[in-house]
């Protein structure tokens, strides 16, 4: 294995993150630890899958990796790379035109204004909006909005792309197209963190996987091993609840 591939981009060591109830209250609530003990390293060029059931802390973890929020304990180091969550229709305003929204959204996602303007033709083509690009967003159907949102987000290429469950959007044909585009990007040399509760998706697209359960990393390693352990655990739990019910 070459050195480039081993280069860590993000390192997490026993990271914990808690939410506290805000404001002044007479009886302060104890903090709720969404992440308790998360440890893994993200290497250059790999696609890392994050797997876990609902409320395991996956989305909070993604917001931490994106630099939106900060951890409360443990060590989290970003070795100097841009990391961004793939988010669609960010900052969209109904009163502005599709073009204006594309520029605003693109800047919010980390592009310079002239970069978005330079890629406008690609955005219009990918979103198949044509002349509608200069119509106000309030006249768009939800499918058109989804197409524009995806086309803009697709232009943004951070060092680390964070994807939360979202692969394809829009109507049937655009869903196929956007899913294909996303899969192509994931399979490329880009560094990606992909969140899903679907073990199949993770196994199909990722090199390595992290399994998180109630804010704790339960397993890190090659995707097949981790998803197999995850699946066994799910089966065990299902059997357990069934036996509890039958009792």
């Amino acid at each position: 294995m070459n050195a480039d591939r081993m280069q860590p981009l993000l390192s997490l060591d026993q990271v914990g993150l808690a939410f506290r109830s805000g404001g002044l209250s007479l009886r302060p609530q104890p903090p709720f630890w969404v992440l308790k003990d998360v440890s893994f390293t993200l290497h250059h060029g790999e696609t890392l899958g994050v797997i876990g059931r609902n409320a395991a802390g996956k989305s909070t973890l993604m917001r931490l990796l994106a630099g939106i929020i900060k951890h409360d304990r443990g060590n989290f180091v970003n070795h100097g790379y841009t990391a961004a969550l793939l988010s669609l229709q960010t900052g969209f305003v109904p009163y502005l035109t599709g073009r204006q929204n594309a520029i605003l959204s693109g800047i919010l996602l980390g592009l310079r204004r002239r970069e978005v303007e330079a890629q406008m033709q690609a955005i219009i083509e990918f979103s198949e909006l044509g002349d509608f690009i200069d119509a106000p967003l309030s006249t768009y159907s939800s499918g058109m909005r989804a197409r524009l949102g995806f086309a803009v987000a697709y232009q943004v290429e951070p060092d680390i792309l964070l994807i939360d469950e979202m692969l394809g959007v829009g109507d049937e044909s655009f869903r196929t197209k956007s899913t294909e585009a996303m899969h192509a990007r994931i399979r490329s040399d880009k560094t990606i963190v992909l969140v899903s509760h679907n073990a199949g998706t993770i196994r199909e697209l990722c090199d390595r996987a992290v399994w998180i359960e109630e804010g704790v990393t339960r397993a890190v390693g090659p995707v097949d091993e981790v998803t197999a352990t995850y699946r066994d655990e799910l089966a065990r739990r299902r059997k357990q609840t069934r036996s509890v019910r039958s009792r």
Binding site: Q7, P8, I68, N78, Y81, T90, V93, L104, R113
Partner: protein
Amino acid sequence: MRDFLRSEIVLPMQMSHRGIGGGGRWIDPRMIDLVLYKTYADLRAEAAKTYVNYLWWVLDPILSMLVFYVVFGFIFHRGGEGYVPFLLTGLVAWTWYNQTLSHAGSTILNGKGLINQVYVPKLVFPLVTFLTDLTKFAVVLCVLLLFLLISGYSPSASWLALPLVLLTQLLLCMALGLVLAAIVPYLPDLKLLVGHLLHLQFFLSGVFYSANDIPEPYRFWFFLNPMASLIHDYHVILLKGGWPHWGRLTVIALLSLLVLTLATILIQRLDQVYPRLVRQA
């Protein structure tokens, strides 16, 4: 291989790049892009909501001036020679201050959807509001100057001091606005209080009465209110062709600059705390 990993230079959190800005960097070209374009977008969006669009920027202050004119000119018979220009000058300056501070408190709170989706330097939100309010004020100021010229007031040399007074007011608005923007997410109750405090300050700022009506012994206390001092300066410059009170102007500018710097540091420090706060709020 192990040695290679260990020799990796670990950058502190603040140095890490993320989305726009990236904690440690103060002026990021993308942040300027964002502030400018978001201001433009907000102004466009606001105008698009109404039928006569941009006309409201002028219409709104004119209507509110009319109300004051009716109340104080007719009902309280405070009229007399030059009362209307006097009233309008003070009101224009006051409205800018009032609008900026009423808007500033909720700026970061209003961005709660956005700041949980992408990394955005939180300073962007108050800055955008300052710029939109400044733009609207600029239009109204032009209308005021035009009105003064038509009413027979001619520009004097002292009008050259006007930009300095305007700049000082901008610093004051930004300083107090940033403090509100920084604190209101922690203490939403403050926003309700601010409305009443502004109301009180309006009556103490010499908009519909002259600072010269204040008895000499109370002048010092009267001018402790920075807006009273600034509005008096506007009156002196625009209506009497005199020069502003340089001493008070300097003190206001320097104190504002100090508060502005502290509030900026505070907001930068709490950059990654706000997304959690506003999510719970």
